[in-house]
């Protein structure tokens, strides 16, 4: 199997996610970038699971999917909280505290 290609795909997706978290201004886009990073990890785990001929990689990926869903639920709730008060979800405007 083309293990290297899948690992490179995972690395590329992870870097895209990192770029998205750092560069995007919209909080929902930041959330989606984090999801992208987690899914890059899933691709890696599935590839390695196939490589070692073990199911543990797939099981781990399932756990990550479940936990990511819980995390997104909390994240969206926090974003909603901010949107209700400011009618904006630009992360650059969150600058009350600095120093």
């Amino acid at each position: 199997m083309l293990v290297n290609q899948f690992l490179l795909l995972g690395a590329f997706l992870f870097c895209t996610g990192v770029y998205g978290v750092l560069a995007r201004r919209n909080a929902v886009m930041v959330l989606m970038s984090i999801e992208l990073m987690l899914n890059a990890v899933n691709i890696n785990l599935l590839t390695f699971g196939y490589l070692h001929n073990a199911v543990s990689g797939q099981v781990f990926a399932l756990f990550i999917i479940a936990v990511a869903a819980a995390e997104v639920a909390v994240g969206l709730a926090i974003i909603l909280l901010i949107y209700r008060n400011r009618a904006s979800i630009n992360v650059d405007e969150l600058d009350l505290m600095r120093g």
């Binding site: 995972g10 992870f14 996610g17 978290v21 909080a27 930041v30 984090i34 990073m37 987690l38 890059a40 990890v41 890696n44 785990l45 590839t47 390695f48 490589l51 070692h52 073990a54 543990s56 990689g57 099981v59 781990f60 756990f63 990550i64 936990v67 819980a70 995390e71 909390v74 994240g75 709730a77 926090i78 974003i79 909280l81 901010i82 008060n85 992360v91 969150l94 009350l96 505290m97 600095r98 120093g99």
Partner: protein, 499 residues
């Protein structure tokens, strides 16, 4: 077609060893069920009482298990996924004590700030469960689940101060950076799994230590270790991955900040010690120097940045970054002595920091914690000022306090490993940070305040009890530290398979 399915055999589970976890989760379930099903409103003290009772129960069971482990040795259960050894039981006791203190301080706090008491306490208990799972995990999957139940609980706890703009901002920043760092940690875990072929820490240690041929390619393992270090450095708030800490500590409620600085930091250090230092101990050459550098940067950033702050909560946040650096001094030594000194530091720091934030929660009755508010506190509330002085001096590392013994032990472990530059840096920086702590002490004792806000400074009995107990622990372990040092010497992770 069903005959082809293999029979599923559940692994043998030693339920008694998992009792602390069951008690804590059970407490959270009881709180949520009773308060939501009861026809009449349940008073706030009920939730506090349940969470204190549950954590006390967990700590007592952990002590019973501790005696078992001392007599018959450490073991693993749930097909080697959960390790019951001195290390995990030490953290069970530490986390339970942290929850008791936070719940008692939070009791008056949630009433004053109109925060929902049942949710606050239930989340404390679930987050604490995650912290204990992290400290006892013998498997990377289990550790990840523990880390996430701790983190998700903390995201919501940080967001409970949602009526204030600072609280909302802190919750958002904590969530984004927490999830970001979890992803780095996971990528590291995936690479370690890929190169060693197992998620079990026991197997990983065997395959990395016995022969390098079983790990391929080893470059990928080094990248995995680097990503693990980045993830854990985020979680323990070590510089240069600390930039979330000041904002989050400032914006969250003071008891929650204390919980983050004590229990969450301790759990992250437990994960770091178990995964990197013990399971990947054979690769010491790959992580010891990076950890020493992280430690040095944290100590410098913590010392320099804390001096420039004018907000007491931000000062405590930067001092917490510095303390993470000191604990890393013990961790990077990678010896049994270094590990036990790091555990001693975590134990001592937990009570200093929860006590400090308890005092801050009393004085900061509205938004903002400028140092001016502490001026003349010694005249208005001499006992409170005295207790805060003890906590600050202990954090500065003044002799006769647990903070001094902790700093002495970590620096000693670095000297024993002949890492003199880090030991000297740690000693010099502790003098610089002392200036910041003394600034608060001077404001309290030497200056007079014009404002008379004494009537607002009501100290609830539960908060006063936590502050007094934390002072007692800080002073007792500063004068006679032997029993705690012995406790931490026995608390080394074992990573053994089987029952």
């Amino acid at each position: 077609m069903f005959a082809q399915l293999t029979q599923f055999e559940s692994p043998p589970v030693d339920f008694f060893s998992l009792t602390p976890l069951f008690i804590l989760v059970g407490g959270a379930v009881v709180i949520m069920l009773v308060t939501s099903l009861s026809p009449r409103p349940i008073p706030g003290w009920f939730s506090t009482a349940v969470s204190v009772a549950a954590s006390a129960g967990a700590a007592v069971v952990a002590m019973v298990l501790w005696n078992d482990v001392r007599e018959s040795g450490p073991y693993s259960t749930v097909s080697d996924a959960i390790g019951i050894d001195g290390f995990s039981l030490f953290f069970t006791v530490l986390v339970s004590l942290g929850v008791i203190a936070t719940a008692l301080v939070g009791d008056a706090y949630v009433r004053r700030e109109h925060i929902a008491a049942p949710e606050f306490h239930a989340l404390l208990l679930t987050a604490a469960t995650g912290a204990i799972v992290m400290a006892s995990a013998n498997d990377l999957v289990v550790m990840f689940i523990g880390l996430e139940s701790l983190s998700i609980g903390l995201y919501i706890l940080a967001a409970m101060q949602f009526r204030r703009p600072h609280g909302r901002e802190a919750a958002m920043k904590y969530f984004v950076l927490g999830a970001f760092s979890s992803a780095f940690l996971l990528y590291g875990i995936a690479l370690v799994y890929g190169t060693t072929g197992s998620t079990s820490l026991i197997v990983i240690r065997e395959r990395t230590s016995s022969l390098g041929a079983m790990v391929s390619p080893s470059e990928l393992l080094i990248v995995g270790i680097a990503l693990l270090l980045v993830g854990f450095a985020f979680k323990v708030a070590a510089a240069p991955f600390h930039f979330w800490a000041p904002d989050v500590y400032e914006g969250s409620g003071s008891p929650v900040s204390g919980f983050m600085a004590s229990v969450a930091k301790a759990a992250a250090f437990a994960g770091l010690l178990r995964v990197v230092v013990v399971a990947l101990g054979a690769n010491e050459g790959d992580w010891a120097v990076p950890l020493a550098v992280l430690s040095a940067i944290s100590i410098i950033v913590g010392a320099v940045m804390a001096i420039t702050q004018n907000d007491v909560k931000r000062m405590l946040a930067f001092s917490s970054v510095g303390h993470a650096g000191y604990i890393l001094v013990g961790v990077q030594a990678a010896t049994a002595e270094g590990m036990s000194s790091a555990l001693f530091y975590l134990f001592a720091y937990t009570f200093m920091v929860i006590g400090s934030f308890a005092v801050v929660s009393v004085i900061g009755w509205d938004n903002g914690h400028p140092i001016e508010r502490y001026e003349g506190l010694a005249k208005r509330r001499p006992w409170l000022a005295g207790a805060f002085t003890v906590f600050l001096l202990a954090q500065a590392g003044v002799p006769m306090t647990a903070g001094f013994v902790a700093k002495f032990l970590v620096i000693k472990s670095a000297v024993a490993e002949e890492i003199y530059w880090l030991a000297i840096l740690a000693m010099v920086a502790s003098v610089i940070t002392a200036f910041m702590y003394l600034r608060i002490v001077m404001a309290m004792w030497a200056r007079d305040a014009d404002v008379d806000d004494a009537p607002r400074l009501a100290v609830a009995p539960a908060t006063a009890f936590v502050v007094a107990a934390a002072v007692a622990i800080t002073l007792v372990y500063g004068i006679i530290p032997d029993s705690l040092i012995e406790f931490t010497r026995d608390a080394v992770p074992a990573l053994v398979a089987g029952n």
